[in-house]
Symmetry: C2
Subunit: 347 residues, 2 copies
């Protein structure tokens, strides 16, 4: 099949990979219609994290082409969202709300086909895939459904982990697709003040569209001062860390109010250090990490279908599968916030 192929750092190409096929009775085979490039794919692209050569990509939506004999909730032709990890939905960790730690789960790769390819074998399909009701969804809704596969759920997890609720004062560190999604999530959760840290005019505009009440361009000490000045010197109740560097984590802790929370979803880099003195002496908590996307997708799906939220606005670049290299390059060079990869022409 046609697919993106990871050959090594800065070398993602379009090519041919073996067609996946159903191997277990709990599998489904999905034909991918829309995929995208994740910020975490960039770490592989940049050589900052290892990745096996071959299939790549973990965010996709598509159509079920076939199901194994033990699959009971899905059928050929179903339109589905795949979370960025597969999970059984029945183990103790899944039942506790942590599908990313499913005792039988795993991720996409050469054994399944990657999300940036024509077809994916989805293990534990009943537990993993979320069926989308209805048909004839608009292009805008389709893009937002794609966003539910990872980025919107990750932004949502930042906000939930940060304890955002009705009336909260929030700051979001990071204006990438995840940070923007965290703004949208905070708005949806009822935050009354949402400060976005961004210096990019395109992203500032999306942040405002998503519900940011304030946008500040400052970084480091200046950002801390600016946020404190906007919050009567107290800082914010929820500081959402959506970058993953040591500086961004430090900024998040410094702009958090005593008794507040840092909701952190940025993949941590080697220089990330949690200021334990702040945790203890200022009672600033830390929670976050890998989002339980499979838990959140059904919760967010109705809001996407009704148009109440439009997380697909984070996609500001598009290629077809043949131009996957450009999809990566555009994000790497910061020409794109997030690249959408279209596998099938619009209906």
């Amino acid at each position: 099949m046609r697919a993106a192929i990871f050959n090594g750092p800065r070398d993602v190409t379009f090519g041919e990979l073996p067609d996946p096929a159903i191997t277990d009775p709990t599998d489904a085979l999905v034909r991918v219609t829309l995929a995208c490039v994740c910020g975490s794919d960039l770490w592989y692209y940049r050589g900052a994290a290892p990745h096996e050569p071959g299939a790549i990509g973990h965010e996709f939506i598509g159509i079920v082409e076939a199901v194994g004999s033990a699959v009971t909730t899905l059928a050929e032709g179903d339109f589905v969202i795949a979370p960025f990890l597969y999970s059984d939905g029945t183990c103790e960790m899944c039942l506790a709300g942590w599908p990313a730690h499913c005792l039988n789960g795993g991720g996409w790769g050469n054994a399944t086909g990657g999300g940036q390819g024509e077809r994916v074998r989805v293990p534990l399909a009943d537990g993993t895939l979320v069926k989308v009701p209805g048909s004839g969804h608009s292009e805008g809704v389709l893009r937002s459904l794609l966003a539910l596969s990872d980025v919107m759920c990750t932004g949502w997890h930042a906000a939930v982990s940060g304890g955002v609720r009705q009336g909260s004062t929030v700051a979001v560190v990071g204006d990438g697709a995840v940070g923007l999604s965290a703004v949208l999530a905070s708005k949806r959760l009822g935050a009354s003040r949402i400060i976005s840290l961004s210096r990019n005019p395109v992203r500032q505009a999306i942040a405002r569209e998503f519900g940011a009440t304030d946008v500040i361009a400052e970084r480091g000490d200046a950002a801390v001062e600016a946020v404190r000045a906007m919050t009567r010197g107290l800082g914010v109740e929820a500081a959402l860390e959506c970058v993953g560097t040591g500086e961004s984590l430090s900024t998040a802790f410094r702009i958090a109010r005593s008794g507040g929370m840092v909701g952190a979803v940025g993949v941590p880099q080697h220089d990330s250090v949690v200021p334990v003195q702040t945790v203890i002496f200022r009672n600033v908590g830390l929670r976050g990490g890998v989002a339980p996307a499979r838990k959140y997708i059904p919760e967010l799906l109705p809001a996407v279908l009704s148009g109440a939220i439009n997380p697909g606005l984070v996609f500001d670049h598009e290629t077809d599968l043949e131009h996957i290299a450009e999809a990566y390059a555009a994000m790497d060079e910061r020409r794109a916030t997030k690249s959408l990869v279209r596998l099938e022409a619009r209906a």
Copy 2:
């Protein structure tokens, strides 16, 4: 007045300090009846943290001797518990449930008299002191009321921060007075399994009395293995860190289940490092720190008065004020879990 005097590391003596007097209309003057030595006092005693020479101590109960003209809820003769910090109860931080970060608050010291002395001037008395109803309380209840001034609230904060609730599986790292209080707190919050990490027979017995279902003597790697073996390999939902060393914090993160919480109240030492990879990739959160004692005391007071909880069992050593040096030495040498200091003879 007669008081403990901090002269420098390993030099706490009995002596005379100036009598405190009401200076602000919101002050109350309290005659201390029972006081105690805090684990954090030991850091000063050991030279691990700085302390101003003079008055020392921040855990006490006593009788109101006089009130300033603006004090409305207290009167001479009232029996009161003092939290380990004073707070107004009316500022934004107090109203948000974080009295330890009161915008007008502070701690005990030379300006007020220390808790280990005959009298203390209590600023912002209406916001700070908690009046104890009734009279003729038993010795056991009195000791437990004293425990509410700090140690029980700190243990409670560990459990609350760790998200302990009905049915939780909990492990408590640390068998000092705070760790034992965290066991009691976990039991009170409904935990169904409470694993205490302790190798001291006296403390093991208190842990069991407080509700520990399991006691393990292992430390480090062996402790991690033991806890995992007891929890089907998953670890505990709440790991309560009540020591403050790098090793104990590391142990807490390692025994925590993915998606779980570390509730940390140990005063962090220089080698304390939060494993951010665990926070992100295993979704183990971290919360805790300085307890909002003034918030918790009224919540816990009825349970102490009814005898439902007996946090005063942590006191296993007693001196009078004249022998304050021995109160410190006994804790420093680990002959005592926690030293009670009696300022007035039993009724």
